[in-house]
């Protein structure tokens, strides 16, 4: 599908990147269309990361002021992590030192608390596993291919971490942190590149499995 293509006609439910015009469903992006029982869907092949509430993202602290941290979340908008979300309600700029928690340049895992069209997205680190990322190799994948990297119910990412012995953390914004043995990390990074290039392949899972299997056998 390319922008302007008619994906389906009639009456269906429809997802993102689709516009309904009369009884036609029009693709707004280059992507693969799915017409099924749960409606019309378009999986885009390319595009920027647009924040969505509840997304888990990985970002880099680029600035801090009296009230919180500004985080680059690989999007056209910067994320803002308010200090009161970190220190609690009793936070006051005079008693708390923000740089004791996160410094400029730190990588953090966070959740998008809220995002509206009129304001920059607000982040939160409340919950298990959020906060500063202490170690790991950082990789990037285009945000539209994140679902491919994760796979159906995490199938792809689980297989990848099992076969390489690495701990892989994927942000919805396309930032990936990999921890583990050096050879494993190299393999993961190569696989991510492969997924990036062949995201359109129908048998991606088997291809990756073959690649990983072959790589272990060859060593």
């Amino acid at each position: 599908m390319i922008p302007g293509d008619v994906i389906a006609r009639g009456n269906h439910q429809y997802g993102g990147y689709i516009e309904k015009r009369g009884d036609e469903y029009i693709a707004l992006r280059v992507g693969l269309a799915e017409v099924g029982r749960d409606g019309v869907k378009l999986n885009p092949m390319t595009g920027p990361y647009m924040p969505r509430a509840e997304d888990e993202v990985i970002g880099k602290v680029v600035d801090l002021n009296g009230f919180g941290w500004v985080v680059d979340i690989n999007s056209c908008f910067d994320g803002f992590l308010p200090a009161s979300f970190v220190f609690g309600r009793e936070f006051s700029p005079s008693t708390h030192d923000l740089s004791s928690k996160f410094k400029v340049g730190d990588i953090i895992g966070a959740r998008i608390e809220s995002y509206e069209r009129s304001r920059d997205p607000q982040l939160s680190i409340r919950g298990q596993g959020y906060g500063k990322v202490e170690s790991g190799e950082i990789a990037k994948i285009s945000p539209t291919k994140v679902p491919r990297l994760i796979g159906r119910r995490g199938a792809m990412i689980n297989m990848l971490s099992e076969k390489t012995g690495c701990d892989i953390r994927v942000g919805q914004n396309g930032v990936v942190v990999v921890n583990g043995p050096p050879e494993g990390i190299v393999k993961v990074l190569k696989t991510i590149k492969m997924i990036e290039e062949e995201a359109h392949a129908a048998d991606l899972m088997t291809k990756i499995e073959e690649y990983l299997g072959g790589a272990t056998g060859g060593e």
């Binding site: 269309a33 092949m45 069209r117």
Partner: protein, 250 residues
Amino acid sequence: MESKKKLMDDNGKRLDGRLWDELRPISLEVGVLKNADGSAHIEWGKNKITAAVYGPKEVHPKHQVLPDRALLRARYHMAPFSVDERKNPAPSRREIEISKVIREALQPAVIVEDYPRTAIEVWVEVLQSDGGSRVAGITAASLALADAGINMRDMVVGCSCGLIGETVVADLDDTEDKEGNGDMPVAIMPNFGLVTLLQVDGIYTRANFQKAFELAIEKGKQIYGMQREALTKRFFGGEPTTTQVEEAAE
């Protein structure tokens, strides 16, 4: 009939051997620049044009920010070496005008409301110029926008038509543009059914205008097919066509 040169011989062949309704050879490639969010290169006759898209990104200067939609910027620029006599690289009156018409030709296709408070920049750089560079630029720019993954209602595709004497011809080259009797660049959104650019110079009879306009649309749709091919090649390895993809999904 013609003032200086004879642009069409007695058999209806033009200077480069084309018939009245033939296009020059066109080749399109998507994703040519690594550092751009989206890019495309077009070679159309002697035209060689690269288009790049950056964004959505933050707007600078800040006072230009639009709270409810994206700011679409377009720049058409001719490289100093793109013409026979060195061109001053400063934007000329003509380039500023073409930047404006390219922006306005793309604006209806881009869903700017999906990217509030951002800027989307389109850069069209003419590396070698021939006739019809604005429509070639629009055709490449819309490919670059699709490559960047900006939500679009439809692709935009351009083609020009014109007059040699009283004969309507498709796709003027540089000589025909300068020596001929009329030029009509047209850009369309082929599925949406919208004309986003229509400029005319020369004197047309009512019938000739109609004929040239319809010819430009017909040829535009033909070039739209090439756009589809180029995007398919970039994103699906050129193998599965859209119809096959649809079948596979069902």
